[in-house]
Symmetry: C4
Subunit: 244 residues, 4 copies
Amino acid sequence: MAKQFDIVEEIVTANRILANEGIVDSFGHVSVRHPKRPDRYLLSRARAPERIEASDIVEFTLEGDPIDAKNAKTTHAPYTERFIHGAIYESRPDIHSVVHNHSPSTIPFGITSTKLKPLLHMCASIGHDVPLWDSHDEFGDTALLVNSMAMGRDLAKRPGKGRSALMRGHGAVVAGTSIRHSVFISIYLEVNAKLQMQAMQMGKIKHLTKGEIDAVIARTGPYTLNRAWENWARRAGRPMQAAD
Amino acid sequence: MAKQFDIVEEIVTANRILANEGIVDSFGHVSVRHPKRPDRYLLSRARAPERIEASDIVEFTLEGDPIDAKNAKTTHAPYTERFIHGAIYESRPDIHSVVHNHSPSTIPFGITSTKLKPLLHMCASIGHDVPLWDSHDEFGDTALLVNSMAMGRDLAKRPGKGRSALMRGHGAVVAGTSIRHSVFISIYLEVNAKLQMQAMQMGKIKHLTKGEIDAVIARTGPYTLNRAWENWARRAGRPMQAAD
Amino acid sequence: MAKQFDIVEEIVTANRILANEGIVDSFGHVSVRHPKRPDRYLLSRARAPERIEASDIVEFTLEGDPIDAKNAKTTHAPYTERFIHGAIYESRPDIHSVVHNHSPSTIPFGITSTKLKPLLHMCASIGHDVPLWDSHDEFGDTALLVNSMAMGRDLAKRPGKGRSALMRGHGAVVAGTSIRHSVFISIYLEVNAKLQMQAMQMGKIKHLTKGEIDAVIARTGPYTLNRAWENWARRAGRPMQAAD
Amino acid sequence: MAKQFDIVEEIVTANRILANEGIVDSFGHVSVRHPKRPDRYLLSRARAPERIEASDIVEFTLEGDPIDAKNAKTTHAPYTERFIHGAIYESRPDIHSVVHNHSPSTIPFGITSTKLKPLLHMCASIGHDVPLWDSHDEFGDTALLVNSMAMGRDLAKRPGKGRSALMRGHGAVVAGTSIRHSVFISIYLEVNAKLQMQAMQMGKIKHLTKGEIDAVIARTGPYTLNRAWENWARRAGRPMQAAD
């Protein structure tokens, strides 16, 4: 019970951090797989991340059905794009938290098909590469929103066994082993994109080597995630919980 | 009466949001068509948007004459460029709110005649394209200010049936169906311009398709506008009113 | 006496505005010609603009000698570069306020000899062009600081009858008819430089025409300056004084 | 004793300044050589710079062993990369403070092998040039972290007798004669990098001449450092201590 409360506060903090660090604006969301029921996840009702409170957090099946259906029809309307989350949890048992955002520096990569690859050690967590998903390939002219499990499942294939994928004309999706992990990757995905845009104008980039990426990933654990989380949480006016 | 009060608070909030999000600096303005008298509109006296209070809001005829002429000559001097608003309301019965700004990322497009086109789903609301108006074409060497109905009417032709137009060496104008709509478009016009400037340096851009733009516009309703508005209003230190 | 007090508060506000708007960092300064003694000017002791209080303001002769010499040797050490101010007041009776800054977007223009010219109506006040002064031409290898009347006078020739000049590898100087005027020009010089850097990457720029620049300058009076000043002062946490 | 306390408060202020000015994010650190024992240095426990308090500061031997070993195993785990600091103090008796950061604008220089050179008088303190260290040259595929004295000593060779060096895919290191000096250089290294990236796109840059760099360095003393420090400390919500 106390545990359940913790996860809810953690997901609220994640939303506030992503807003405060400029990774989401009035849109975008972050979820966590239910700690006791792996066939469910927790996600806010449809609301801007910067405004989210504990009472906004709702429980969903992996298919995106709210457990409290009545509530969903009155005060707690769900995000249209919640299917992104369920589809990734369904196909990736190793994933426990998902972020969907419109992180500003990632957009130019998706619309120009420029390969986004890690160039800074802190950014190795984004993975060896960041595949691109274009909703138009499979679904044609849509509002680009992932509003069904069919679209969610198509998108979920793109990260493969990786950590992230870009969505053309839309944003990005990030998959982590914990809330702190998915938030960490999201923030450094934006950092890498911004730096790569700048460096591209200056000359040929020496990206991290494959071996370097693997070495950084191997040592990025709670020690690193918690140091950053404490800082980001406090900057967003949120308390630091002891890590899970 | 309570209704009239609401609209005034709403237009104050709109001004504060535009300032807080960096869409206007000490100049620029946002108006709303009078909810009961379609031949009038409400606009602040000449003052920086970030400073505007409810008592600054003034009622005008579409020709730009203040209803309270005496006030206009003492404490409530009007904006020189109020004609932008009336000219658009006059020619477009579907428009209920107009924004004029010097939104920073839009300026380079106007002065280099670079076509600004939506590349992100959130930005489809700017319309299929953003026409350019150059005051010099019709009026020659002026201070570039739209200081007469003649200039306002010439500018008002440019958006056509669309939502926005650029003004060379000056800024932009945005036309929406409500205050929340015109503010929403203004903010994402800036977002699109900034992203397009960056992406242009990286390669050929895949913009949204015509079908995608139409699909996004078709589904951008109160659900979307209110979520963003709640967030922007609170960020600007303003309360969220229940939508009209 | 009350008048003297006003000018001191005004110059404090000018310093705070320039810091708050990012035009100066820990260095840079703004002065005003003494309202009753045109052969003197008021300038802060050597201190970062964001920290300046009324008690920091010092009176100088145009040659840069502090009137209170004893104070200058103890608590109120003067800026090394105060000679910039006196040299401009000496050669330009029409000038009543001078700003010297390292405004970030102006620096790349000075070191690449790129012509900075107005492209936005708000920026016409910078003048038809912004000449470049390189201290190396006349003085060779120095610390680039204008630390004598000889250097100040050489620099003062550069704006000619204009409003501004760039200093290679150093910053800019701005000359206005009042404190509000020099601050206004300084802020829009930075705006113009930033926009021109962006637009240059996009294509050929259509700058303001000569006639447009003259038309804007002709109508930029207290109405415009005060609207901006009220906003900038409040943003910097300073009261708005009734204009001089 | 009072002296020891001062240095601790100074290093806390240095951390807060570097965070507040955007030179470090959740990572990066600044140390000072022990004022009475030149074979030791003071550095925070592993924590984000923005969060550091006086009680976090720990004393180390130059080899990176914490004097209070028990504490280091419980509440005060040290930074993995503390070896950067000891290795520089070991080889450079003239150095009394070291900063390691991931300063954003410096990264593109390190990964594109673009020479970073001073172009603004305030930036002369970075030195005539900023050598590049690539951990891959000597150590191959690693997590890029300087986690041993061997790596620290290899890196320490790179600044030579200078003030700074870039680390490919990682960040930068800065060496100063005092805390205020190393913080000052770090901030203007970022400024120079950002301006150089912009100016490179505009044309050929006229950098400071050798003579100019030497002249600026010769006159950059407490007068300059303290003016900036007072400003940065206050901006970060920290008191200004009388200089050492």
